[in-house]
């Protein structure tokens, strides 16, 4: 559905003469029904890539197409459910007024428009703020308003740039449900985020960008991993049996609790855990020290 073919974007300034390659030879295809995550350090080119996908920027090399058409043409006909990283809505509009306006621009009319607007107000929990002006909204509520206007769209393409930025943990969790509801067999969803945990939970694949280049596409994120894993073990008290129970284990010095880093396959880690529990060790917590995506991300951007 969305096709990036050798896409590059170079920003040029004449005075002083400077060139910055924000996106470099990016090639990828996003299918209908798929959720693609885009991760990368600051300045990696994520937002530029999304702007190219919306037709807000023109590539300096290669081509972006959506359903075989240039993005601007696609947007003119279908629109895109879009949440930008910076939420820019005229400050004097009320939350309800803003959604009413965006509903009109999305092609909704009459009772259907009212129903949809009220629906997203309920869904995003901004009912108490509907009559507040945009300038009176907190960062989190403004973010929810931005997400609400994106949900007004029925477009087969959704683009969300840092969707959980400013959201509290409760709404960050609810965002995952929202993405699940947004999924449709005919819709491609692209989410750019710094939050690797969030991407790992909602995306089918994650494209990792570094300095404008696609360095890796992590897929199968939800699948069982037969390879090595890195887990963190927190126990109530130290025990000599812990070191013997795992193939590779190291004590991590922390002031408040007894913690170990354990490496091994999932089977080895399960065995080790069973052995120390059988040996009388009280386990307080056992959790991945790094998610698979985080590991992939660190490798892709050259950081251990």
């Amino acid at each position: 559905m969305i096709r990036y073919a050798d896409v590059s974007k170079t920003y040029r300034t004449l005075v002083p003469h400077r060139e910055v390659r924000a996106v470099d030879a990016f090639t990828l295809e996003v299918s209908a029904g798929e959720v693609l995550g885009i991760a990368g350090p600051n300045g990696a080119g994520k937002s530029t890539l999304l702007a190219l996908t919306l037709g807000f920027l023109r590539p300096t090399g290669g081509a972006v197409t959506i359903d075989g058409r240039p993005p601007a043409t696609f947007v003119r006909h279908h629109g895109i459910a879009y949440l930008s990283e910076l939420i820019s809505i005229p400050s004097w509009w009320t939350a309800r007024g803003a959604l009413g306006r965006y509903a009109t621009l999305s092609g909704l009319t009459g009772p259907a428009a009212v129903e949809r607007v009220e629906g997203v107000i309920d869904r995003l929990g901004i009912g108490d703020h509907r009559h507040k002006r945009v300038k009176q909204l907190s960062k989190g509520n403004l973010q929810r308003l931005g997400l609400a206007q994106a949900l007004l769209s029925d477009s087969p393409v959704a683009i969300l740039d840092e969707p959980t930025h400013g959201l509290d943990p409760l709404w960050t969790q609810r965002f995952r449900d929202i993405v699940t509801e947004m999924r449709r067999p005919d819709r491609a969803i692209v989410i750019a985020s710094h939050n690797l945990d969030e991407l790992e939970r909602v995306a089918d694949r994650v494209a990792i960008l570094d300095r404008g280049r696609l360095t890796r596409v992590a897929d199968g994120l939800a699948e069982e991993d037969g390879g090595a894993a890195h887990y963190r073990l927190v126990v109530a008290a130290d025990d000599a049996g812990i070191v013997a129970a795992f193939p590779r284990v190291a004590r991590v010095t922390t002031e408040r609790q007894v913690t170990y880093d354990a490496h091994g396959t999932l089977d080895e880690l399960n065995d080790g855990l069973a052995r120390i529990i059988a040996g009388g060790v009280r386990v307080r917590a056992f959790f991945p020290a790094r998610s698979r995506l985080e590991t992939a991300f660190r490798e892709a951007v050259g950081e251990e």
Binding site: L57, R58, V75, R76, H78, G79, Y82, P90, Y102
Partner: protein
Amino acid sequence: MSVVVRYLPRQLADQLLTRGAAMLVVGIVILLPFLLRVDGGALQGEQLRVLFVASIGNVTTFLTLIATYGIVGQDIRQGYYRFVLSKPLSPAAYYGAAFGVTLAGYLITLLVLTGVFAVVRGPVWPGLTAFANWTIGFVLIGSLVFAFSRFTRLDWIFALLVFLLGDVARRRWPAGESVWGAVLNVLLPPAGQSAFSAAGHPRWGHILWLLGYAAVMVALGLLAVRYVPPGERR
């Protein structure tokens, strides 16, 4: 009915609440001496109308600039375009409608000023010729501002510069004296003649030339909106 047409009332409401209010304040300040009866209420009838029309006429350029500056440029600078232009609409149609709405907002503001004046000083009707003159002035200046709007939020400064430098160029190279002067006469904004005679009769040839020039400027502005993506700096 297209999305853009359905959105017109909201665009007009925004225009009146923001720029309309600013124009109203400027207009009232200009009319304040008459509203405060500094003439002791001596001026009546035709004298009052002539002074009202002349006073408003002195600030129509300023009101036009308030109404039209940054129609596209401010949207881009503030980032408002992101949510608007991700909707299924034509950017050129959206900003073309915005230009039309600024004209409607300008005329409504002038009507409100007329009403305020009528309430405080007594009935006064500027006449259709006055409104036609103000409209032509708006279209000529506003269209030039709009032509620059995609490229800079300081579009009004560029438009004023074109008028000022155009005036200098016309004096330096008069139209009838050289080919260069004739070319400049076509390219520069129409000037030097009123759209109406002293008796109030329309000079149709000149009016068509003014409106045609304005239409070309608006078309250039729309072409820029259509072909220069909003995220590109220039």
